[in-house]
């Protein structure tokens, strides 16, 4: 296998950071949720890379990644439900006031 571990970790860190940017910078709640999905995927990439390179005989990395997948699915379901409910009330899902950096 020619690709060293640090390259996977770099891709994961980049993906995580892009996700952070998406969450913090986007106005639209659906886009924010997509950013969170990117972050969770970066986590999974980390987990599987660590698992493959460090403890391939122990299932904890893969099992952890499977649980992260479950949680991501649950979060998306609830999140999109809340977003649709908000849309029904306001006809918009802009989250300018969901503003984490100001407070």
């Amino acid at each position: 296998m020619g690709v060293p571990l640090w390259m996977y970790l770099t891709v994961a860190a980049a993906l995580f950071s892009i996700g952070i940017y998406g969450v913090l910078a986007r106005r639209n709640a659906v886009a924010v949720l997509m950013g969170i999905e990117l972050m969770l995927n970066a986590v999974n990439l980390n987990l599987i890379a660590f698992w493959r390179y460090q403890t391939p005989f122990n299932m904890s990395g893969q099992a952890f990644a499977a649980f992260v997948l479950v949680v991501a699915a649950a979060e998306v379901a609830v999140g999109l439900a809340i977003i649709i409910a908000v849309y029904r009330n306001r006809q918009s899902v802009e989250v300018e006031d969901v503003d984490m950096l100001k407070g």
Partner: protein, 173 residues
């Protein structure tokens, strides 16, 4: 990746998946049209599935395709279509997009320092090509001495999320 030995098929695949993953992610966070955003997301998640194959985790790769692309991607598409005005966002970013960019950049640099330094330049190959199989993962998830507790709690979580989503999204009767 040792370029001195020439490009191995693996290195080429790695480069391709990196472009898909990171490129898709940039698409997700910058697009004006959220239908395209959902498609970019699928591209990015597909790249991750490719990495899983490279890392000898074929089961998770297939689950990634089924759950993320098959279910979550579609769910996003539905949400975008159920809520109008998502295909031509007038303002993509909030007023603090530059602060967000700064935060993301800082996070990236910190992560690089914390995560990549320990293994940078370390080209040691993985321990063995004979890794655990999907069977082992399946056993681990339901075996009493491994992950049966989180497995059961995760099932509760899915039930709670499902009921919760219905409670929120159903029309008032």
């Amino acid at each position: 990746m040792n370029f001195g030995e020439g490009l191995t098929p693996e290195a080429i695949a790695f480069g391709l998946f990196t472009i898909l993953t990171i490129g898709g992610a940039f698409g997700v966070v910058t697009t004006r049209n959220l239908v395209r955003g959902a498609i970019w997301l699928i591209v990015s998640l597909f790249g991750i599935a490719g990495f899983f194959v490279l890392l000898s985790a074929p089961f998770l790769a297939s689950v990634q395709v089924l759950v993320y692309i098959g279910a979550i991607g579609i769910l996003f598409s539905f949400a975008v279509m159920l809520t109008r005005g998502m295909t031509n966002l007038k303002e993509r970013f909030n007023s603090q997009w530059w602060l967000a960019g700064l935060a993301a950049l800082t996070a990236f640099l910190l992560l690089m320092m914390g995560v990549v330094i320990p293994v940078f330049g370390n080209t040691i190959a993985p321990v063995s090509d004979q890794v655990t199989s999907t069977v082992d993962l399946g056993v681990a998830l339901v075996s009493g001495n491994q992950y049966v507790l989180p497995f059961e709690v995760a099932s509760l979580l899915l039930t709670a999320a499902m009921i919760g989503a219905i409670v929120i999204a159903r029309e008032d009767d």
